[in-house]
Amino acid sequence: QSAKVTDATVAFLMPDQASTRYEQHDYPGFAAEMKKLCPGCKVIYQNADADASRQQQQFNSVISQGAKAIVLDPVDSTAAASLVKLAQSQGVKVIAYDRPIPSTPADFYVSFNNEGIGKAIADSLVQHLKSLKIEAGDGGLLQINGSPTDAAAGLIKKGIHTGLDTSGYPILAEYDTPEWAPPKAQQWASGQITRFGKKILGVVAANDGTGGGAIAAFKAAGVDPVPPVTGNDATIAALQLIVAGDQYNTISKPSEIVAAAAANVAVQLLSGETPKAETTLYDTPSQLFIPAVVTAENLKAEIIDKKIVTAAELCTGRYAEGCKKLGIN
Amino acid sequence: MTDISDGAVPSGELVLSLRGVSKNFGAVSALTDIDLDVHAGEVVALVGDNGAGKSTLVKILAGVHQPTSGTVTFRGAPVTLSNPSTALNLGIATVFQDLALCENLDVVANIFLGRELNPLKLDETAMEVKAWTLLNELSARIPSVRIPIASLSGGQRQTVAIARSLLLEPKLILLDEPTAALGVAQTAEVLNLIERVRDRGLGVVMISHNMEDVRAVADRIVVLRLGRNNGVFYPDASNQELVGAITGAADNSVSRRAGRRQAQSDITQEGQI
């Protein structure tokens, strides 16, 4: 066992604001675990606001500040290759986080699996439709992807296609939402509702924001009940929509778990240890967490009971009634 | 004309009085130590070479520029003309040399700018009637008062600027080369107008390079040279005197040209005879 680090600088670089998880869960989780493992260590947090060159600046900057390990959630998975090279040439460890860096192996990769997420939400929706005995007939599904300029969105999109292509439900139309913007998703969905009307059996949306936009479009068109709509990220707003019966599913990302794992890996790497890898992805030793799909059925078990969100946060005002139905108090 | 020149100090109230006014633009001293008095019912002509500082002085009185030093007294009380609306509120109306019209607005809007009738529901008809009345008074030839200033000729614009200044009930009117772009008829009307305004007891400051016009309406002629006072004259002063004071030399291009032309025409006439 080599000497445990006591005073190193570790950087935690996140890609964007589009998902609130990074600032609300990942970073706090990481910081808390680091505090536990290495109270003398310093954690630098940066968010690149979806800008690959800003991320490069941040990367350079944390190296200037003496970071010896960098947890990197790349804005652009391909472009991040050069960051890894740069770090390794200076003896700095890089832990790929959330999104992989395929072309140049980092020292470790810890993540939920984005492609897996895409497949999971699609599968869950398909299963739901089948269980309701809804025939494809001349109907089908809408697919709302993330930003066309976001590599992670590309992975989710790929996963959704894997899930849907063999489902028997055709994709009526598909849309890449610029900047993941919910109003854009709403506008597009409105158009499809006029186009396809009752033929829309469900919507696979790549995250909760775009899913919320689709729900708003159905509501605005007076469609009742709203066909099942997926999400991803388990934002409180989305959980509330699930409680209210407006959204079908989302993905619970108790990102604190992944973040804690990343902190462990970082400390091990800094201490000269080799962290235990469960699997290898893109030649990188990896630890992949399988995120849970959350629907009304398992919301209490996955979210409340696991203390990811408290009942008080979730069951405000008009959602109290729905909560009660799901057995949440 | 000669009936005024004998009294050095006119009888009316002292409307405006400047003492030791200077204005620097960076390293350039545009005005140095200027004194000037204007009385009610008096037309003071301000003459001087190009760049002598006449417009700068007018702009100081209109609140456009602030003097670097010196005092301005208006109707007995010292005033600070910190912006144009102060000057307008005191009753100082100005026609600027650069006209200061809004090219994107039409003639009516320009004439009434800042003094529109019925602020919450502009009375366009009344304003248009008044605009035509003012313009006709000035013999203006303007095809329509509903076209933007940008499509007017130089003289038409100047007429509009003059019409603007008649809208107020001012105590003092400053006219910076009001007839420079005007036709002969319009010039005559403006000179008439200046006389009428003077007779109503207003003070008038007029800048002009046309000595004939100056002599026709001015009660007193104040000469500026290179930003300094360079003498006060009366309308009966000779052209030679005035031009000498303006250019600062008895031997100047005007006198030389006059001399040459005289000589030439003598020769021609001799030849013809």
Binding site: Q187, T194, G212, I215 | P84, A100, T125
Partner: protein, 416 residues
């Protein structure tokens, strides 16, 4: 002097022999064609551009012209349209506000927090959000008037700072659902005018035109000025009423006219009145055309700038509230992306100059309808993102080419 007046022909404004005048209905018509020929068309070219866009989209997918889809279009146009109306104000005085997107997002976040999370009455929350928006306008005006900071820079700084505030306010929750079924969300998503209301409202412009038109004729005749013929006024009033009622009739086939769109149009008409028929509007135009001339005319130029900035940011905040109502949610992405650019572009496409002194409230209406038509039409086609961007760009250019051509001809006819 009396001589001049004696020589003048009876009408004060018809004394110049060089000007051709057309009278009566025939005159109106031929004057119209003369104007078309010389390129002096007002907003007609953009309308033509719009017609082309509509025809193409309708031929690609007939649903585009379904009244249901058009009603969607009107809902969507209203939110950014209100923001664009504020942009018209700052453009009129030759300034810009780059922060309208952020302010709209911040306002929606505020409404979400204050109303849903803090339990304030919704009206109070909206008023608070709009007031806070106004504060930013005050700040820009202060920086502009006192320090002479160019609005491009101050509002760029504002864009970033206000976005930070939006993220901060939403920090703990991410995004906030506005309750479905609440009046505000219904207003943003569902509420349409009862048919008799929309038919009545559509008749009003024509009536106003008739009444004021006849009053103007009477007053101008009395003042010895030329006056438009009663016939031409009637023709115009009837034409506009017919067109409006037809539109209303068509949209009433489905849901009908959204109240939110009615509100937007109401704001546009109020702003148009304020800009063209009040002293304030005259001063705005003057300041935008020639700031120094306006100052010399005694206009309180600073106050005018302040009013423009404050109005702009208040309308931006209000537009943000409407956007939140439309989406039933206040999110971190609200107001980001192309909200800024769309709001400014709508005003410019509609014909308001970026350089001040020239523009109209209707440009916001026209411009946003163009932009939303493109967006809406494209959602009905199955296109890849890359194609979608390329086509949006191309169609935008086409919509404006018609206008540019008309302007060219106007310049060459000495009408610029």
């Amino acid at each position: 002097m009396t001589g001049t007046i004696k020589q003048a022909p009876p009408l004060l404004d018809r004394s110049d022999v060089r000007v051709k005048h057309e009278t009566g209905i025939g005159g109106t018509v031929s004057a119209f064609f003369e104007r078309v020929r010389s390129g002096d068309l007002g907003s007609l070219p953009v309308v033509v551009g719009l017609a082309i866009i509509w025809t193409v989209f309708a031929s690609l997918n007939p649903i585009f012209l379904s009244s249901n889809n058009l009603v969607n279009l009107l809902f969507d146009a209203s939110t950014v349209g209100v923001i664009s109306l504020g942009i018209v104000c700052v453009l009129m005085v030759g300034e810009i506000d780059l922060s309208v997107g952020s302010i709209s997002g911040f306002a929606s976040a505020l409404v979400g927090t204050l109303w849903v999370n803090q339990g304030w009455p919704v009206a109070l929350a909206i008023v608070a959000a709009v007031a806070v928006g106004g504060l930013f306008g005050c700040l820009y005006a202060l920086l502009f008037n006192r320090l002479g900071m160019p609005s491009f820079v101050s509002t760029l700084a504002g864009l970033l700072a206000v976005l930070g505030m939006q993220l901060y306010v939403l920090g703990s929750t991410g995004s906030i659902n506005l309750p479905y079924g609440s009046p505000v969300v219904n207003f943003g998503q569902l509420l349409v005018m009862p048919h008799y209301v929309s038919y009545t409202l559509a008749a009003i412009p024509g009536i106003v035109m008739l009444v004021t038109g006849f009053r103007t004729i009477a007053r101008r005749r009395a003042a010895n000025l030329s006056a438009p013929s009663a016939g031409s006024i009637i023709v115009r009033a009837v034409a506009i009423t017919l067109v409006l009622e037809l539109i209303v009739f068509y949209l009433n086939q489905d849901r009908g006219i959204p109240w939110m769109f009615g509100l937007f149009v109401g704001l546009v008409m109020t702003m148009s009145y304020a800009l063209t028929r009040t002293k304030w509007g005259r001063s705005m135009t003057a300041v935008g055309g020639n700031r120094e001339a306006a100052r010399r005319a005694g206009i309180n130029v600073r106050r005018i700038y302040t009013s423009a900035f404050v109005l702009c940011s208040m309308l931006a905040a209000f537009g943000g509230v409407l956007a939140a109502a439309r989406l039933a949610s206040a999110s971190q992405q609200a107001g980001t992306g192309d909200v800024n650019l769309n709001a400014i572009a709508a005003a410019v496409i509609g014909g308001t100059s970026l350089f001040g002194g020239r523009g109209s409230a209707y440009s916001a209406l026209l411009g946003i309808v163009v932009i939303q038509s493109i967006a809406n039409g494209l959602t009905l086609l199955d296109l890849s993102s890359s194609l979608r961007y390329m086509i949006t760009g191309a169609v935008l250019a086409i919509a404006v080419i018609v206008d540019s051509l008309a302007r060219q001809s106007r310049v060459s006819h000495g009408r610029a």
